[in-house]
């Protein structure tokens, strides 16, 4: 018996109406409810604050979260030392993302085709690597962070290992960090909101030019401004974090342990200033520079240059990365803009050992390029964020301009465009754990980068996943 009444016909007729009403009600609540999002639940648990306090949408920091981080993961209300926590408190968070993804590349070297290239597409269920974040304070004004991180086979490495002296002599302008850490990038790659194999990193942060058509980047020189580096960092900031400035002295090894490359040192400098623009929100502008050097050859043992002795890299040559950043807020909409400029030594670009008396290959030049990034977000409420990003890289000086035998590189060789769309929805917000439905599509095109025919290389990636942290 149908106690709700109505004829069978009416029930059938009312079904879409009820469905519509249900959807409308859910949508209304969904769109109107502003309860917050989460990030490093270890911090959220410590302070009992919703993750949305520190994250506009985790893991992206809000200005309050940036201040908390800059202050050595301290609120500054004299409840920061571990003594104020339950003895059982253990500042550990893990994060992993089970997912389905589809990755496709239009030109992969294969033997079965006449051109030697074919489109390769793969898809299926998968999971990401695992991050074990542990961080916080050891005592008031002594902070730390250790992040063992694995790939999805379970092979671990240390992504971060550092300790920091905070507010030395009571000054927020004097903070010293030692260890392996993320560079003071305002647009943090470690807090990136996109997860695909293409957009899980910022292209501009890792771009290295091709030497020639069909010749990949120098395998002996790998650098990414988005990679965590090893060294010491001084950071100073105003109490309200509106002004920030930092300088780092780093080992020239791209964050690798055990001193595998040279005895050289790099420098990274960053400064920014935030200001309030009416009721639009907090705007921030800044700049950064990375001045580095990398070895071009090693001392070696029996077997010759193919058996280099780790840490003996010499013949250092320089490379630089510069950038200007703006983070612009118009209430719930924000856009980050970055201008990049990069140059590499011709020795590094051509993978030429700068032994005494050596000369560069004919046609080798110091490559330089310009890049841009536009990342916009619409943060409808702390539970829902839409993401769009466009990155481009344009070569301004090719690494190879012809040697009489091989033609000069086309001017657009290596030019890159990346477009990404994504959204994250956090179905619940708490101060204990975080969960996000993640959907994303990204596509990248690199001019002349295909491995055999040196034509345009295009890859795309689609990902749906459950991103969670506890």
């Amino acid at each position: 018996m149908d106690v709700r009444g109505g004829s069978g016909v009416n029930r059938i007729a009312s079904r879409p109406v009820k469905t519509l009403l249900y959807v409308a009600a859910v949508l209304g609540i969904f769109l109107s409810t502003c309860s917050p999002a989460s990030a490093l639940p270890a911090f959220a648990r410590k302070y009992g604050m919703p993750c949305s306090s520190c994250h506009e949408a985790w893991p992206k920091l809000s200005p309050f979260g940036q201040q908390f981080k800059d202050n050595g993961y301290q609120m500054g209300n004299d409840r920061d030392a571990p003594i104020f926590q339950s003895p059982a408190y253990w500042p550990v968070t893990f994060r992993i993302t089970p997912q389905w993804h589809r990755d496709s590349t239009n030109k992969v070297a294969v033997d079965q085709t006449a051109t030697g290239e074919a489109q390769v597409t793969k898809h299926g269920f998968d999971w990401s690597g695992l991050d074990f974040h542990t961080g916080g304070t050891l005592a008031k004004d002594f902070s730390f962070y250790v992040l063992p991180s694995s790939d999805n086979t379970g092979a671990f490495h240390f992504e971060s290992v550092w300790a920091r002296l905070d507010n030395i002599a009571g000054s927020s302008w004097l903070n010293i960090k030692l260890g392996k850490f993320e560079l003071d990038n305002l647009l943090s790659e470690k807090r990136i909101l996109t997860l695909t194999s293409i957009s899980g990193v910022y292209t501009n942060y890792h771009f290295q030019p091709l030497y020639q058509k069909g010749v990949p980047e120098n395998p002996n020189f790998v650098f990414g401004i988005g990679n965590n580096q090893v060294g010491v960092e001084w950071l100073g900031h105003s109490k309200d974090d509106r002004t920030r400035i930092s300088a780092s002295l780093l080992s020239s090894n791209d964050g690798s342990p055990s001193l595998p490359t040279s005895r050289g040192y790099d420098g990274f400098f960053a400064a920014s200033r935030a200001f309030q623009l009416g009721s639009l929100g907090l705007q921030r502008v800044g700049g950064f520079a990375y001045l580095g050097e990398a070895p071009t050859y090693f001392q070696y043992t029996s077997g010759g240059p193919s058996n280099p002795i780790a840490g003996t890299g010499i013949g250092n040559k320089g490379y630089q990365r510069y950038g200007l950043i703006g983070m612009w807020y118009i209430k719930k909409f924000d856009i980050t803009t970055i201008y990049f400029h990069g140059t590499d030594s011709a020795w590094l670009a051509s993978n030429t050992a700068a032994v005494p008396g050596a000369t560069l290959p004919v046609g080798a030049h110091s490559p330089s390029w310009n890049g841009g990034l536009f990342e916009s977000h619409y943060n409808l409420n702390p539970q829902l964020i839409f993401i769009n990003r466009y990155e481009l890289v344009r070569m301004s000086q090719q690494a190879f301009t012809g040697d009489g035998v091989t033609a000069a590189n086309p001017s657009n060789l290596g030019n890159t465009d990346v477009l990404t769309f994504g959204m994250r929805y956090y179905p619940f917000i708490s101060s204990r754990a975080g969960f996000a439905y993640h959907a994303e599509y990204a596509i990248i095109r690199q001019r002349g980068a295909s491995p055999v025919t040196a034509t345009d290389l295009t890859s795309s990636s689609l990902l749906f996943g459950f991103d969670f942290a506890f």
Partner: protein, 287 residues
């Protein structure tokens, strides 16, 4: 029939969208300098930053509240510690705005200085929507703070005498460590145990770190805590003497009052006798 169903749809849609907004009462404004705060904008900020402790309804029952030893403020009661208005009255918008920017030391309330002034003004406006008091009452008239008199040794000594006479020591302890004989019996308006302020731990009080801030605490009290208002008990010049004396208890803070007090033989003996030399607590917090 069809019209009825359409009406139903429209009605339910309207309710679905309006409910979350209607639940938070009327629109409010706040005014702080050139900033006018709007409660609707503040609502979004509140449900990003504040609800975890203060609760979705502002009554201090957020999911984290059970784990705090000083419970979050209940905005429905609208009783606030840090005011420039007499005890029992509503605070000025400026008082709430300042509290957001400063935080409340020794509690879990952090400084929200990282927010913009506009955002803090919006939050103040929204906080005011929780209590009907903001509809029926006006904030009290702010107390007048007379100019601080010249700092003298006599002023410090007189402040010390008042500290005894007014029995401040019963809660705060003879050395200002918050360990007086009544300390363990004190409760706040939530019936939660509350510890008196330990003057030796910091130079920041719950409501600011300037001498004017400390003066205000005497004269307004900290509503919701056992700290009463002394506005009807002591004269302004006495309150200033008390401020000068209390600064000498903060022997880790090189204030002018402490410097002057240490320059006297009597003061140096007293302060040095109280000091715990070069030691640290287990937390690493300087004593």
């Amino acid at each position: 029939m069809r019209r009825l169903q359409i009406t139903k749809i429209v009605l339910i849609l309207a309710i679905a969208f309006a409910l979350p907004f209607a639940a938070y009462g009327q629109q409010m404004e706040s005014h702080e300098g050139k900033w006018t705060g709007h409660s609707e904008a503040g609502r979004q900020l509140y449900y990003r930053y504040c609800w975890g402790c203060h609760g979705a309804r502002g009554n201090g029952d957020g999911e984290n509240a059970p784990y705090l030893n000083i419970l979050p403020r209940n905005f429905v009661v609208a009783s606030f510690k840090c005011r420039s208005t007499p005890t029992g009255t509503l605070p000025l918008d400026q008082d709430l705005f300042s509290t957001l920017g400063r935080g409340i030391n020794f509690t879990n309330m952090p400084s929200w200085a990282a927010l913009t002034d506009q955002q803090r003004a919006d939050l103040v406006a929204f906080i005011k929507t929780f209590s009907p008091r903001w509809k029926t009452e006006k904030p009290g008239d702010p107390i007048q703070i007379p100019a601080e008199p010249a700092l003298t040794v006599a002023s410090i000594k007189h402040g010390g005498e008042l500290f005894q006479k007014l029995e401040c020591w019963k809660c705060h302890g003879q050395e200002g460590r918050g360990d007086g004989p009544s300390a363990s019996t004190l409760t706040d308006s939530n019936d939660q145990p509350i510890r008196p302020y330990n003057f030796t731990s910091d130079n920041r009080s719950k409501c600011g770190k300037t001498n004017q801030d400390v003066y205000k605490i005497f004269m307004t009290g900290l509503d919701g805590t056992p700290m009463p208002s002394f506005a009807d008990v002591i004269k302004p010049e006495d309150a200033w003497d008390l401020v000068h004396f209390l600064r000498t208890l903060q022997y880790n803070n090189k204030s002018p009052e402490l410097t002057l007090w240490l320059s006297t033989k009597e003061g140096a003996e007293i302060v040095n006798a109280k000091k715990v030399q070069n030691t640290y607590t287990g937390s690493g917090v300087k004593p």
